[in-house]
Symmetry: C2
């Protein structure tokens, strides 16, 4: 049963804003990295490669947390506790879509052997929170 | 054996910048929230209350990840994988110090029964990373 994203948060995800994604290491530790994000309905989309630690982590344990601040007010932010699906993206469709959103051109930095994947995050729970 | 913070990252922590702290829920899921941060040498300091989920999480599993972006360049960020100590702060010393840094006055929002604690994070590993 998926949770719904508030409309305000959808706007944050539709802009060229950054999120932090947290995954679980093999030993149970948290691991976090900053990512570009896209959106498909209430799912959040992240691009990474098979070679990256977070892809391996999500392949083993699909439970993730994704946090994004209101780009105009860091005291307002959304945490999505969700389940990640790792989907092959052999044409690099998502990374190029995101790259155009964030830097205005196709993604120029992948090595030839990069195996792009789409991380589709379905929200199990959505939390709005304040710092302090 | 603690890791050392790079000087550049120390400057980020000394400014009024926000970080994301990730902890582990009882069921092994990641949980993330945005926090104010301070620094004592190579340790990062965060204030929270006993009542908050992240304090309970760190009391049970001290392994955390703390991520902060370069305030001038979100493509540059530091991830600190560390161990958190939870220390009572009955005089609210840290939250007031941080509050003065971020909003220019003592922290005005704690309810009377707030039990402030200092989260002292010692870095086990430091990662500089780029998005994509």
């Amino acid at each position: 049963m998926s949770a719904v994203l508030p409309d305000a948060a959808k706007e944050w995800f539709d802009g060229a804003n950054f999120a932090t994604i947290s995954t679980i290491e093999p030993d149970g530790r948290p691991q976090a990295s900053m990512v570009w994000v896209g959106r498909d309905g209430d799912d959040v989309l992240v691009s990474t490669t098979r070679q990256r630690r977070k892809a391996a982590n999500m392949g083993r344990d699909s439970r993730v947390s994704l946090l994004m601040a209101n780009p105009e007010d860091p005291y307002s932010y959304i945490e999505i506790r969700g389940t990640a699906s790792v989907i092959p993206d052999p044409t690099s469709s998502l990374i190029n879509e995101l790259s155009n959103k964030y830097i205005g051109k196709d993604y120029p930095w992948d090595p030839p052997d990069a195996e792009r994947v789409i991380i589709r995050i379905s929200a199990d729970k959505v939390v709005f929170n304040a710092s302090g």
